[in-house]
């Protein structure tokens, strides 16, 4: 089973065939702008000294994250990573809660117990990542196992990077998912740099998706800057899993447009590489596509842009009003009580 290299998405007709109407297309654009806007304002907050610890973004990965997030069904679940803010945004996280999370405030999804993108809302079907990548892949595989055992028509999506593909967790989960034909989609955010490590020092095959053949399922490589192509491929993989067709490894190829984290100026990435990938910036690329193929008018665009700005301004204010956690609450939350099991995702 050779890896399949996905074609780019062209006409509006093609997009309609994969189930997106014009409303959806504009929502995707809004989610991409929100994603980028949250992270750009995060940078400002960081420089203002309002974000403790470090700060990570997914600049360059907005299309891949929003594309997969849009393809997930309402009851599907996932374990997005630190380049996948677009998944949180698409699933409906309130932006003020992201800022509150960045700043260690009570209103963040973890209430200050964890920071940066180590957050998720289980009620949105998302579960929070850990730093040890790709430790969430076995967890996503277990979610899919639960669906298979119960006969739920639900799918789990597990994210990893091309760097963490080198770790055993990736192998064990993909192998088990292949053996049991579980409804899970493995999404590789291949942004070509694992901190300072280039791809040729991380793996020796052409594509990470080549490995899918070793686990008995399909591998697909898609241009991660083409949000609609990502959507189409993710949708296909998710629906295939839902219908009992087993896992897919979907590799989204992008470039990490910033350093590993805010402290890292990425001096080791060749300048030409940045220039080349900047020319296919996912947000700009999609904006152009909407104008050329979906007839997005300037009025529509400015309406979306100003709505996003307004949301972000309000979100920053609301996050800033959220208090820092009370140190007297420190000891709580280590062990769950029986009442804590009474949550929607546990049913």
């Amino acid at each position: 089973m050779a890896v399949r290299e996905a074609e780019p998405v062209g006409s509006l007709q093609e997009v309609k065939e994969v189930g997106l109407d014009r409303e959806d297309l504009l929502a995707i654009y809004r989610h991409m702008l929100l994603t980028r806007g949250i992270e750009e304002r995060g940078h400002i907050l960081y420089k203002q000294g309002k974000i403790p610890g470090s700060f990570y973004t997914g600049r360059g990965n907005e299309g891949a994250a929003v594309g997969v997030g849009t393809a997930m069904g309402p009851n599907d679940v996932g374990t997005p990573l630190h380049r996948d803010m677009g998944v949180h945004v698409t699933r409906g996280v309130e932006p003020w809660r992201v800022f509150a999370q960045y700043m260690g405030r009570e209103g963040g999804p973890t209430g200050g117990r964890d920071g940066n993108v180590h957050m998720a809302n289980a009620e949105l079907g998302l579960h929070t990542m850990v730093s040890h990548l790709p430790a969430m892949l076995p967890v996503a595989t277990g979610m899919a196992l639960a669906f298979k055992i119960r006969g739920d028509r639900r799918v789990a999506v597990g994210w990893f990077g091309e760097g963490s593909a080198a770790r055993g967790d990736a192998h064990e989960s993909m192998n088990m998912a292949g053996v049991r034909q579980l409804p899970v989609v493995f999404v590789c955010d291949n942004n070509q740099w694992a901190y300072s490590t280039p791809t040729y020092l991380s793996y020796s095959v052409e594509h990470i998706a080549d490995r899918a053949a070793a686990y008995g399922f399909e591998g697909v490589v898609v241009d991660g800057t083409d949000v609609l192509a990502v959507y189409r491929e993710a949708r296909r993989a998710i629906e295939k899993a839902r219908e009992g067709g087993g896992p897919t490894l979907l590799e989204c190829l992008t470039l990490r447009m910033e350093g590993h984290a805010v402290h890292d100026d990425a001096f080791y990435v060749p300048k030409e590489m940045f220039e080349q990938w900047a020319a296919q910036d996912p947000v700009e690329r999609y904006r152009t596509w909407l104008h050329n193929h979906a007839g997005m008018t300037d009025d529509e665009e400015s309406e979306i842009t100003s709505a996003v700005k307004r949301i972000l301004i309000e979100a920053l204010d609301r996050a800033d009003e959220s208090p820092l956690p009370d140190p007297s609450s420190l000891a709580g939350g280590v062990f769950a009580s029986f009442e804590d099991l009474d949550t929607p995702h546990h049913k």
């Binding site: 973890t110 117990r113 969430m136 967890v139 595989t141 967790d169 064990e172 989960s173």
Partner: protein
Amino acid sequence: MAEMTYIQAISDALRLEMRRDPRVFILGEDVGVYGGAFKVSLGFQEEFGPWRVIDTPLSETAIVGGATGAALMGLRPVAEMQFADFISCAWDQLVTVAAKQFFRGGTPVPIVVRLPSGGGFSGGPFHSQSPESSFAHIPGLKVVCPATPHDAKGLLASAIEDPNPVLFFEHKHLYRRIKGEVPEERYTVPFGFANVHRPGDDATIVTWGAMVHTATEAADELAKEGFEAEVLDLRTLIPWDKERVLEGVQRCSKVLVLHEDTRTGGFGAEIAATIAEEAFEHLDAPVIRVAAPDMPVPFSPPLEKAFIPQVADVVAALRDLAAY
């Protein structure tokens, strides 16, 4: 009541939980057709089917991570490590993910990991360890170490019910050696309550797992000399019954802490430190620790016997305490 071996009691608890709660399922290596390396789940696949008794690839990380994911989706997985020693392969999933997911995400992870542990039959360095202290040090994990068939059955039911990750250390050397009266119906033994395995007022021996039986033999030996030592079986290390231990210290004034795990940083150190902090004025003698030496578990019978605390070692320590 029925007479059951320790391992029968574990099987019985697991079977009863699976019958009463359709969310409970087991996964592990060779747990299905083969019934598990120690036959705890023998016949389970016939009764519950292949999707509730899941044979996995040799993948401890995927077993524990998979259990975590399934628990987050509302199931109650019971994962089996073929030997407790192999939990090192799943350390990250337990310690990094399962133990911290509720703290960070507010999402409980109700999983049980069954861990056949302990030595005494020449299992060598990789099939004989008692790694409970390592996990007792990790906030977010509960640690259970039953010593009797009755407690094994009741504690396993509690473990499966518990909304947190629970490590269930089953001592392999007790599996078929220890029998006892066990109620046939389902019952639970709550976490955090020590059991007086043998009463006494002259010293209190704080211990758990297979060492409960070693301690009892030693105490019986000393009783012939008129020295009555209490054997306090902690049953669970996280949470541990500090109040009952301190009560024993106040009443007996002499304490021996005994475990099969190695000495340095063992859970006995935590107990001894707590006694020093909170009951110092009640002590008539220094707290004595009897534990395995700080080294891997050796293979050859005379070496292994010298490694694992024996009745004679406990008798000698009790004589020291008596004479102090």
